[in-house]
Subunit: 340 residues, 3 copies
C-alpha cells in the first residue's frame, strides 16, 4: 500500500473537486486499518471514495479497532465538517487521475513523506483545476465574477490572491522548523527540509525543495533539489525541468552558494559557489583554472555538471567566465579539521 | 460614445471616492440604453453621476426597455447594495478627471476592451488616491490607524496588504484563460491576453500586458506590451515608460524569449532572444555577427530596435556583447515548415 | 528615559507573548506621566508590565493628570480590549530581552522615531518567536495545525500568509507619505522616510530603510540605509549585514541609482550609478577611468567605498568592469546651479 488519507475539500457547483485538505496523510500505512476503512466505505476498488457525516463514527470505530487511534480521532473530527469528505486509497504509486489523488501526492511531498522525484506526478497539470484562491476560500474561476458581485453588494471585497492550479503550501502544511517570509511563493508540493528559511524573495515550486538546513532567497524551480547547508542568494535563478533547463534535472550538493542575482543551469556537487550576478547556463563556455592559477582548458559548463569544489566567476578585467578551485571551500574545510 | 458603466464603490469619511468596481463596463455602447440611463439619473452632462437604491428599479426598467438586458439585470442587483453607487458616461476618450473615470478606464484595459496605449490615461497618478488595501476593504490612509486600533480592540488584526494608488487587478477582473501565481503583482489596468500565465515572480503594471498566449515570470513595466508566444524568464526586467526607458516604448513581437534575470531596454521584433543574465540597455555597444559568424560592426543597441531574429549574448570568453542571427528561431521555423 | 509605550498583543496557549501592537510609542518621554504609569501599575522595576482592563481608567486618569492626553486617551480605549495588555518601560536603550521590548523597538524604527542602527537590537532573533501570520491573526506555529483543521471543519480556509519571526510592517505602522506595492515585503522594523515608494519588487528588511523621498524597486537588506533621492532599480540587490556583506555596513548617499537587476556590496557616496545588470562586490576588480577617459588604475571595489560621483559599468566590448566619473551626475549639478 502506497498511501491512505482522509480529507476534507471544496467542490464547485457541479460537484467537481477543486481541492482537498488531508490533515494527516499516511505513507506505506498498515494494511489492517486501511482494509477496515475500505469495508466501512463500501468495499469498492475506487481510489477516491467520497463519504459523509453518517460514516464518520463507524469509520472512527473501525480505525480504532484496527489500531490507528490518530486516524480514528481524525475521522471523529470530520463528523462535524460542513464541507465534502473523501478517502483516498493508493494501492500503488501511480500517476494521479483525479484532484483528490493529486492533492494527496502534493501533501505527501510537503509533509516530507516523499522527496522530490519520489512519487509519480505525470499529467498533474491536466488533472488539477484552475482555482481562484480567495479571502472566502477556493472558488471555481467560472463562478468567480458572480461571487465577487455578491460580496460587493453585501459590503465586502472578495480578495483574490492567486488564480492557479496549485495553492500555497502553508494553507495545507507548515512543516516543523521552517520560516517563510512570503508564503504565497511556496507552492503545495514543495519539500522544505527542517531548518529551511525561505526569505521573501525566495520561491519554491512543487516537486522541488531543500534537504535542510538552508537559507533560500532565490528561486527553486520545479524539479530542483538543494542539499544541506547550501544557500541560494536573493534573486538567484535555477533552471527547472518545466522550462529552460530542458531534460537536465538540476540539483545542488551540500555547502554550495549561488550568489545574489546569479543563476545556474547545471547540477552542482558539494562546496560550489557562483559569484553574485553571474548566470551559468549549460552552454556557457567556461575557462577552467587549476589550483596554481594556470589555465587548463575551455569547456561548456554542462561538461562540469555535478563536480564539487568549483568557484564560478566572471573575471572583472578580462570579462571571461572562469571556474576555479573553490578556495574558500578549502579554507572552510581546514577550519573544520582544526576543530578536531 | 466611448464607454458607459454602472459601478459600486468605496468612499472615505469625507464622501470622496477611493475606488469603484464596475462589474460589466461597456465599450462603444449602443446609444439608446445610455440615453435612457441619462434620463433616469437626471439628464445632467456630468461624466460621473452618483445614484442610490431608489433609482435602481427605474434604471433597470429603462435599460431593459432600450434593449440591454445584461445592464438591466446589473442595475437590479445594485438595488441590494450597501455601498455607494455610481454611473459613468464617457462620451469621448478623454484623460480621467475623477476616481470613477480612472477606475473605469483601468477596468476597460483589464477586461481586454482596450489595449495598452489604447485609452488616454494622462494625469491618472494625480487623480487616484493613495489607499490602504486591507482585509477589511479599501481604507483611506488617513483613516487607517484609527481603524487598526479599533480592530485590535475587537480582537482582530486588520491586515494591510498594500498601500498604493492602484489595487490588484484580480479584485476587479479575472479575465478568461489566465493563471496568476501571486495576484498582488498584477495592477488593475494590466491587460493579460487569453492563455497568459504569470508565475509568482512575474509582474505586470497598468497600461501594459500580453497578447496571449504567454509565459510571464519577469516584470512587464508600465507601457510595455508582449506579443503572442513570447516568454519572459523569471526575474527578467523590462524598462518602462515611467522610469528608466525614457521616451522609448518597449514592446516585444512574437516568439521572443527574454532569459531569466536578463533585461531589455529596447523594443524587439519577432523571434528574438536575450540570454539568461544579460541586460541590454539602449546604450549597450553590441557587436553584430552575421549568419556566417563574421563580425559586421559595433552599434548601440538602440540602433537594432524593433528588428527580428536577433540573439543577444555576452560571449563568455571575450566578455563582449554580441547580436547573432537567432539560429534556434530559424530551426523552429524549419520544423514548422516540415509539418506541412 | 529611552521609551515608554502601552500595547495590546497576542499570547499563545501557554501565555507567552507572540507579538505586541503599540499604537503610539514614545521616544524620550517626559518623566512625569511615565512615573504615574509606573505607580498605577504597581511600581515594579520590570521593563515589561502586563495589565488588564481594571487598570485602564486609573491609568488614563494618571496620564491625563501628568499632562499626556494622547496616552490617556489610548489607555481609555484599551479598557475595551479583548486581548492582553502590556506596558513597556525602557529606562535605557538596551538589547531586547523579551517579545514586548523587541516589538517596541521595531515599532520605534517604523514610526521613524529612531533611525536604522539607532537602537540596540543585539540578540533580537533569539528573543522573537516564530509565528504563523494568518487570516485569523498571529498563531503559535505549534498550535497551527489544530487551528487549521478546526477552521476547515467550520467551513473556512485558515490562510497562512507568512511563517516568520517578523511580521509585516503595515499591520503595525503605515508612516505618512509612503506607497507600498506588496506590503508583505516590508518587515516591521523597516524605516521608510517620507516620500518613499516601494514597488511590488521592492523589499525592506528591519533596521534598514530610506531617508525619503526614494523610489525602491530593489531589495534593501538588513542594515542598509539609502539617502534621499536615490533610486533602487527593480530587482537590484544590496548586501546586508546578516549575510553576504560580512562586516561592511552598506549605505548609499543621495541621488544614487542602482540599476535594475544590478547589485552592490560596497557603500556609495552621493550621485553614484551602477548600470542595470552589473553586480559590484567588494572584491570586484574595477578599472578606474578619469574624466578625460584615461585609465588610472585597477583597484578592488572596496577601495572605492564611500566615494561620490562614480559610474560603474561593464564595458560591453571589452567585458571589463569600469568606474568612470559620473557624467550625468555632473550634468545634473550644472542644471541645479543654473536655477540659482
Amino acid at each position: 500500500m502506497f498511501s491512505f488519507a482522509l480529507g476534507i475539500g471544496t467542490q464547485n457547483k457541479k460537484g467537481e473537486w477543486l481541492e482537498v485538505y488531508f490533515p494527516a496523510p499516511l505513507l506505506s500505512p498498515d494494511v489492517a486499518p486501511v482494509k477496515e476503512a475500505r469495508r466501512v466505505l463500501g468495499n469498492s476498488d475506487d481510489r477516491v471514495v467520497p463519504f459523509n457525516h453518517a460514516h464518520c463514527q463507524e469509520l472512527a470505530a473501525a480505525l480504532r479497532g484496527a489500531g490507528n487511534d490518530a486516524q480514528a480521532q481524525l475521522a471523529e473530527s470530520l463528523s462535524n465538517s460542513q464541507k465534502p469528505l473523501v478517502a483516498v486509497f493508493l494501492e500503488e504509486d501511480v500517476a494521479p487521475k483525479s484532484v483528490p489523488e493529486a492533492y494527496l501526492k502534493l501533501q505527501l511531498l510537503s509533509h516530507r513523506l516523499v522527496k522530490p522525484h519520489g512519487t509519480k506526478l505525470e499529467g498533474i497539470f491536466g488533472v488539477l483545476k484552475n482555482v481562484a484562491w480567495t479571502s472566502e476560500g477556493p472558488i471555481d474561476v467560472e463562478e468567480l465574477s458572480e461571487r465577487q458581485l455578491q460580496a460587493r453588494l453585501e459590503g465586502r471585497t472578495l480578495s483574490v490572491t492567486s488564480v492557479d492550479k496549485f495553492p500555497k503550501m502553508t494553507d495545507y502544511v507548515v512543516p516543523t522548523g521552517v520560516r517563510i517570509g512570503d508564503a504565497i511563493r511556496i507552492r503545495l508540493g514543495a519539500y522544505l527540509g527542517e531548518g529551511t528559511t525561505v526569505m521573501h524573495e525566495g520561491f519554491c515550486n512543487f516537486n522541488a525543495g531543500t534537504e535542510g538546513p538552508n537559507m533560500v532567497e532565490g528561486r527553486i524551480s520545479a524539479g530542483v533539489f538543494v542539499g544541506a547547508h547550501s544557500d541560494l542568494g536573493a534573486g538567484c535563478s535555477t533552471m527547472g525541468t518545466l522550462s529552460g533547463g530542458g531534460g537536465i534535472v538540476i540539483s545542488f550538493g551540500e555547502n554550495c552558494l549561488i550568489g545574489a542575482n546569479a543563476g545556474c543551469g547545471i547540477p552542482l556537487g558539494d562546496r560550489c559557489t557562483i559569484e553574485a550576478g553571474l548566470y551559468i547556463t549549460a552552454g556557457t563556455k567556461v575557462t577552467v583554472i587549476d589550483a596554481e592559477g594556470k589555465e587548463v582548458n575551455v569547456v561548456s559548463a554542462r561538461d562540469l555538471a555535478g563536480q564539487s569544489d568549483m568557484l564560478f566567476i566572471r573575471h572583472s578585467v578580462s570579462g571571461r567566465v572562469e571556474c576555479r578551485i573553490n578556495k574558500s571551500a578549502i579554507v572552510l574545510n581546514d577550519a573544520l579539521h582544526s576543530n578536531n
